[in-house]
């Protein structure tokens, strides 16, 4: 039952990625919180969602580009990591989530090819055919999101449950490893904002604000 609910949630969140609304409930931070809350482990959901949000800071559903899909990947990561309480669960969950983001991105591209087969040609288009083709696209995207999440959670839980006892690092170092990967995304983002040289004053002021904030709050 829990697997079905979490898969349906994955499907609904996946819809927000491109097809419906784009109010950004599909971002990892939100998807992680939702998945964690449903699975009764909000702390794991928020932490994994925040780490994956950091990784996907530079990933957007822009035009025809293939992008790692955040929502099902985050739900899969959280559902996998929440299966076991151990430092390795977060690392293995994030690894599964990163792989599943690529799987999700591949299925989005595949769906877009499938959509191209049944959208009406201009010469034969009618109001009814447009409505049917569009509704079919929405339904297929939901089904795709459910299946990607379902398969991912089954696979991810097996990975975490079987391998978590082998994980050699303590919690703090595990977090360090995961954040080190996220730091690359932060660097990529700074480059896309104009680069370090151009933004160094604001960036340095931000670092100072952040560090002072951690001391005050």
């Amino acid at each position: 039952m829990e697997l079905l609910v979490i898969s349906l949630i994955g499907g609904l969140l996946a819809l927000d990625g491109t097809s419906v609304g784009q109010i950004m409930v599909s971002r990892p931070l939100v998807a992680g919180a939702v998945a964690g809350w449903i699975l009764g482990d909000p702390a794991v959901g928020i932490f994994l969602g925040a780490v994956l949000e950091l990784y996907l800071l530079v990933s957007f559903p822009s035009g025809g580009a293939r992008f790692p899909e955040g929502a099902p990947a985050t739900v899969v990561a959280v559902a996998s990591a929440a299966a076991v309480e151990a430092p390795g669960a977060a690392a293995l969950g994030i690894a599964v989530g990163l792989v599943w983001g690529q799987v999700g991105g591949f299925t989005v591209s595949l769906l877009r090819r499938v959509n191209g087969q049944f959208v009406p040609e201009p010469a034969s288009a009618s109001a009814q055919r447009v409505s049917v083709a569009h509704a079919l696209g929405l339904i297929l995207d939901f089904v795709r999101g459910v299946l990607v999440t379902l398969v991912g959670v089954v696979f991810g839980r097996q990975v975490v449950v079987r391998l978590v006892s082998l994980w050699p690092l303590p919690q703090d170092e595990t977090t360090g490893l995961l954040l080190a990967g996220g730091a690359v995304s932060a660097g990529i983002l700074l480059r896309s904002l104009g680069g370090f040289r151009r933004r160094r004053v604001l960036f340095a002021a931000g670092i100072a604000l952040g560090i002072v904030g951690t001391r005050l709050l």
């Binding site: 097809s19 784009q22 919180a33 925040a50 929405l138 660097g187 990529i188 700074l190 952040g210 951690t214």
Partner: protein, 249 residues
């Protein structure tokens, strides 16, 4: 030919939230654009089924735009259709706006607004705010901008029709984008500071991981987006290697 009703316009606006539902590599947003226009087109051509058919065929053709700014095109097309603009004028308009609506939206929303709000929420989290506060702040602030942009765009298109370019120029979205990118740099720094100094952050992980994060950050600034996928592969590979090491020892 009739004027579009308020109900039809509201339905078109609401359907703009689904405009990417049938996204495909052939017509991109074409089918979605036509789907969103249908409630208004049905009213405009309520007494002329052949004209409705011609209009549907016109709008199912290739089109692309940023989804949040697609309302600019939708509003303007409703206005053009209700003014009985000729087929070629409507096609020329759509061809003229699809590039700018895509490029401006990508720069303003995906590359500037979304990272700004996302980094603000992550910073809150690492500064110790409860998770639900960070998530709620992200959704509320992000969607204030999102819904404001969609509403403004649809109204601007509807009001100005084929001259909507003036609204786009007047709104100076490029300037807003540049300002937001400066805010992004500040927030990125704040996030880095919070992750470095916050509880459970990099400072608690040891110098080795903090050093690796610094190397990764510098590599990201030097190499850019093409480093993203190799990094994801490296993280997955490192997790696999460490697990294998734990098994071997």
């Amino acid at each position: 030919m009739a004027a579009p009703t308020a109900g039809g316009l509201v339905a078109t606006f609401l359907r703009s939230f689904l405009i990417q539902g049938s996204w495909n590599y052939r017509s991109m947003l074409g089918t979605g654009l036509c789907f969103a226009l249908l409630p208004s087109l049905r009213r405009i051509f309520s007494d002329d089924p052949d004209a409705l058919q011609r209009s549907v065929r016109r709008h199912v053709e290739h089109f692309n735009a940023h989804p949040y700014l697609s309302g600019v095109a939708l509003g303007a097309i409703v206005r053009l259709e209700s003014e009985a603009a000729d087929d070629q004028a409507i096609r020329r308009f759509k061809t003229a706006v699809r590039g700018p609506l895509g490029g401006l939206g990508d720069s303003l929303v995906w590359a500037s607004w979304l990272p700004a709000v996302s980094m603000a929420a992550l910073s809150l989290l690492w500064l110790g705010a409860p998770g639900w506060v960070a998530v709620a702040t992200f959704l509320l602030v992000y969607n204030l901008g999102h819904l404001g942009l969609r509403t403004w765009g649809f109204r601007a298109g509807l009001t100005n029709g084929r001259n909507v370019g003036r609204s786009l120029t007047g709104a100076n979205l490029a300037l807003w984008t540049e300002r937001l990118r400066a805010v992004d740099a500040l927030f990125l720094g704040a996030l880095a500071g919070a992750v470095l100094g916050g509880d459970g952050g990099l400072a608690d992980s040891g110098l080795a991981w903090a050093g690796l994060a610094l190397v990764g950050f510098v590599a990201g600034t030097v190499t850019g987006h093409r480093l993203w996928r190799p990094t994801a592969v490296a993280v997955v590979g490192l997790v696999a290697l460490l697990t294998a090491w734990g098994w071997a020892s």
